[in-house]
């Protein structure tokens, strides 16, 4: 007899955006579907031809639009449909993560992974893990705070900014 567990309700449901390439991860997610695997409904997929097409600006945009977590996923190294796009992506994100860390974003909110067209199970794992991780972290406030601050950008409310202003 199968036991249907009552679905656990959470106080906070994070918004996750996944930027995926069409050849590997999108197909992997399709495979998860055809295999009828189950995962949280929090993820929204944006399809790209290749992870190489993903501009870091999109990740910033996603966080700005209220995403609590972002997943970037493409083909395994060496398996890129376009030969080297995922290598360019990997290099770009290595640098971009540093930048995000510098501005104070918790890097656990941004995940980079390889999911091939054959790895429906891995897609489920990655999405579930990231959702639970971000759910535990709570809503992403940093960008909302920044957006608010932007409105008050005339204010020099820290000693460092005051000092810098005086030095000009």
């Amino acid at each position: 007899m199968t036991v249907h567990h009552a679905k656990q309700k959470h106080d906070f449901e994070p918004k996750i955006i996944a930027f995926v390439c069409t050849w590997c991860t999108y197909a992997g997610a399709d495979l998860a579907g055809t295999s009828r695997m189950q995962y949280p409904t929090n993820v929204r997929v944006v399809k790209f031809p290749c992870t190489g097409r993903i501009d870091p600006v999109f990740i910033l945009k996603a966080f700005q639009q209220g995403a609590d977590g972002v997943l970037v996923s493409g083909c395994h190294p060496g398996d890129c449909h376009y030969m080297a796009g995922n290598f360019h992506a990997r290099r770009r994100f290595a640098a971009f993560r540093k930048l995000l860390e510098f501005i104070g974003v918790d890097l656990q909110r941004l995940q980079f992974s390889w999911v091939s067209a054959a790895e429906g199970g891995k897609w489920v794992e990655v999405v579930t893990e990231l959702t639970e991780q971000v759910r535990a972290m709570g809503p992403m406030q940093e960008f909302k705070a920044l957006a608010l601050e932007e409105q008050w950008s005339g204010r020099l409310d820290t000693p460092e900014l005051q000092e810098a202003y005086q030095a000009i």
């Binding site: 955006i17 999108y26 997929v45 790209f48 190489g52 489920v124």
Partner: protein, 665 residues
């Protein structure tokens, strides 16, 4: 103002079970820009498509979103339907609410909410889709076949017989490949040379085939239908046009003790040589490394005895450029070395088998040369060390194959069968001989294969011992084989006269370098990757390039020939058209903003980006900008993400489209 139509599919019960499709259609109808929204049981069916087409005309729709299965499944179907209704096909998008929603969630409320959001994202995206023209490119109806083994020969003959020009390039001085080296073939025991050499002659005589032997691929440019291939014709030192193939030079050459690689170094050849008597073309090559004339400047006997005057010591490598429309790669294999571990290789080698130090431990291909009627022993099985006839022969299977700890985990597929054949050939030639085979499993899938293997045991009395060999060592003129019989659970020691190792099949050295020139992918062993393991087994992911034979993975002769004919059929399908249509997902440069930094050029994996000079009327250079050749561009978009001034845009995946999707959340 756009008038978008949203069509929500039930997919029978597949979507409707977990997603409230009526609510999705209702919500979609409220979205700005949506003029029409409906749901239907099977959108992809004929009435479903009819509904779509009718709505486009009646509602004067400008864009369409079909919320159904994955675009990988039916995007083409719906884009075609949209086109039939008079809209540009690229104004249609699919919202994936089956694979990415209804099939992976159980909660109806949550799944419906998600489906509504997915549709919303695609509605925002489709608003910004632009009319894209279909790109057509011409097709050069000439094929290049790389490799002149049985795979390359079969593909070349098939394409040439269909009436198309073929350029066949072979690295060695003669075509024929490994099949020309074999003695007899399983499971029929017909003579390999007898079935191979007529095909080789057919290639040489075919009016549609241009043969370049002793040649290699130097460079490959272009794309499907329009490749430019540069072939390096290595200096033969013999003029192919003049040489009559009389062979006098071979007999007169004083340097005649050079080990013959074709005979696995068992026999000898001269410095000016043809690899084997049935070579095609039957034109000698001077081995400059061993030739006295090239080493010391003296000799030149071959030139003196050559009647027509074909020997040319001054000859240099020549580059030939051939325009072709399709490429068949058939570069074949080589065997795992039983000698010292190859330098820089992840493969470990077999120190326990003497690392090639015991002369009477040979590999399978060497045994083929011993058994071949045209081989160095005239078909007699004789030991390489002393020329005596061996009575006890031990065959060891899976040497290198299925041995993760040695660096290769795959099965080489042909060894079980050829070892069974070897035991038979041995028994046919040495009637009082005894063959022992150490094996892990006998893998005999194939027509008549298992019967053949059984025959080697039941009729030819080969003794099969399940287990592996731990060590080989020389004892007098015998080789002691120490192994285990795991079926009985005892250690076995056999004093053998000859040991034959069924070494693993590997891709050719340099397979990776060739793949990089062609722009095709390969696995960690350097076998070339097909586009889809099941449904596209002969196509490469790179359009216009096809695979045949062992370069794609271990296979026997029948499989190789089938794959070669399949690759040829694919080439003929391509050549059946004069023009090629391709998806217009290509990058475009906004020349006004481009600053000419060419960062895009460095990241483009296809070399699709060129420099373009912009001049005024007087011809003065204003600036140099990037230009994307739409025929070469494959549409990955790496250039766009790299461009610092945002001057290059990938049609179909513009920043505007992507950002609108993110903003829709």
């Amino acid at each position: 103002m756009s008038r978008i139509g949203v069509f929500v599919c039930h997919c029978g019960e597949n979507i409707a079970r977990t997603v409230d499709v009526e609510r999705v259609a209702g919500a979609a109808g409220q979205l700005p820009g949506v003029a029409f929204a409906t749901d239907y049981k099977y959108m992809c069916s004929d009435p479903g498509q009819g509904l779509l087409k009718k709505a486009i005309t009646e509602q004067r729709l400008t864009h369409v979103v079909v919320a159904a299965c994955s675009p990988r499944m039916h995007e083409r179907t719906f884009r075609k339907a949209v086109e039939q209704a008079g809209l540009n096909p690229f104004l249609c998008e699919m919202a994936n609410i089956r694979e990415h929603c209804s099939w992976v969630h159980e909660d109806r409320e949550e799944a419906t909410a998600k489906a509504i959001e997915i549709v919303g994202m695609l509605v925002e995206r489709v608003k910004r889709n632009r009319v894209l023209p279909t790109i057509t490119v011409p097709v050069t109806k000439k094929a290049l076949v790389i490799g002149g083994g049985i795979a390359g020969i079969q593909a070349a003959l098939d394409i040439a017989d269909a009436g198309h020009q073929v350029v066949l390039v072979e690295r060695e001085p003669s075509i024929g490949g490994h099949m020309a080296q074999l003695s007899e073939t399983f499971p029929t025991l017909d003579c390999s040379q007898c079935i191979m050499t007529p095909k080789m002659v057919d290639v040489a005589n075919h009016p549609n085939i241009t043969l370049h032997t002793y040649s290699e691929i130097e460079q490959v440019d272009g794309y499907i239908g329009n490749f430019q291939v540069t072939i390096r014709k290595k200096a033969r030192s013999v003029d192919e046009q003049i040489c009559t193939g009389c062979g006098v030079c071979l007999t007169k050459c004083p340097q005649n003790k050079i080990p013959n690689r074709f005979d696995r170094n068992l026999g000898t050849r001269s410095a000016i040589y043809v690899p084997f008597p049935q070579a095609v073309p039957n034109i000698p090559v001077i081995d400059r490394e061993h030739c006295t004339k090239f080493k010391t400047g003296k000799c030149g006997v071959c030139q003196k005895v050559c009647g027509p005057g074909a020997v040319d010591f001054e000859q240099e490598d020549r580059l030939v450029v051939e325009p072709v429309g399709a490429i068949v790669v058939a570069t074949g294999f080589e065997l795992y070395s039983i000698e010292e571990k190859p330098k820089g290789s992840p493969i470990k080698g077999y120190g326990e088998f003497g690392h090639g130090k015991i002369p009477d431990v040979i590999d399978g291909l060497t045994f083929e040369r011993l058994a071949s009627a045209s081989g160095p022993t005239g078909g007699k099985i004789l030991r390489p060390s002393d020329g005596k006839e061996p009575k006890q022969v031990v065959f060891i299977q899976c040497v290198g194959s299925r041995a993760r700890e040695k660096g290769i985990s795959y099965c080489s597929k042909i060894c079980c069968m050829y070892t069974a054949k070897h035991t038979m050939l041995f028994r046919h030639k040495v009637h009082d001989g005894q063959a022992y085979v150490f094996f892990m499993d006998a893998r005999t899938p194939g027509k008549g294969y298992d019967e053949f293997w059984r025959r080697s045991i039941e009729e030819e009395e080969a003794v099969y011992i399940r287990g592996m060999v731990s060590r080989l060592y020389q004892k007098g003129d015998k080789i002691v084989v120490m192994g285990s019989d795991i079926a009985v659970g005892v250690q076995v020691e056999i004093e053998a006269d000859l040991v034959v190792l069924a070494t693993a099949v590997q891709p050719r050295q340099g397979a990776d370098a060739l793949a990089q020139k062609l722009g095709i992918s390969y696995d960690k062993y350097h076998f070339y990757s097909e586009a889809h393991a099941k449904l596209k087994p002969v196509e490469c992911a790179t359009a216009g390039i096809y695979l045949a034979g062992v370069c794609q993975g271990p296979k026997d002769i029948p499989d190789t020939v089938s794959q070669a004919s399949a690759a040829a059929a694919k080439v003929m399908t391509l050549f059946a058209r004069d023009q090629l249509e391709r998806e217009p997902i290509v990058a475009r440069v906004q020349e006004r903003n481009c600053v000419g930094c060419f960062a895009c050029m460095k990241v483009c994996p296809y070399g699709a980006i060129e420099e373009k000079e912009i001049r005024d009327r007087s011809g003065k250079l204003l600036k140099t900008v990037a230009y994307v050749n739409p025929g070469v561009c494959a549409g990955c978009g790496t250039c766009q993400a790299t461009c610092p001034s945002k001057s290059v845009e990938l049609d179909g995946y513009t920043d505007e489209q992507i950002i609108s999707m993110i903003e829709a959340l």
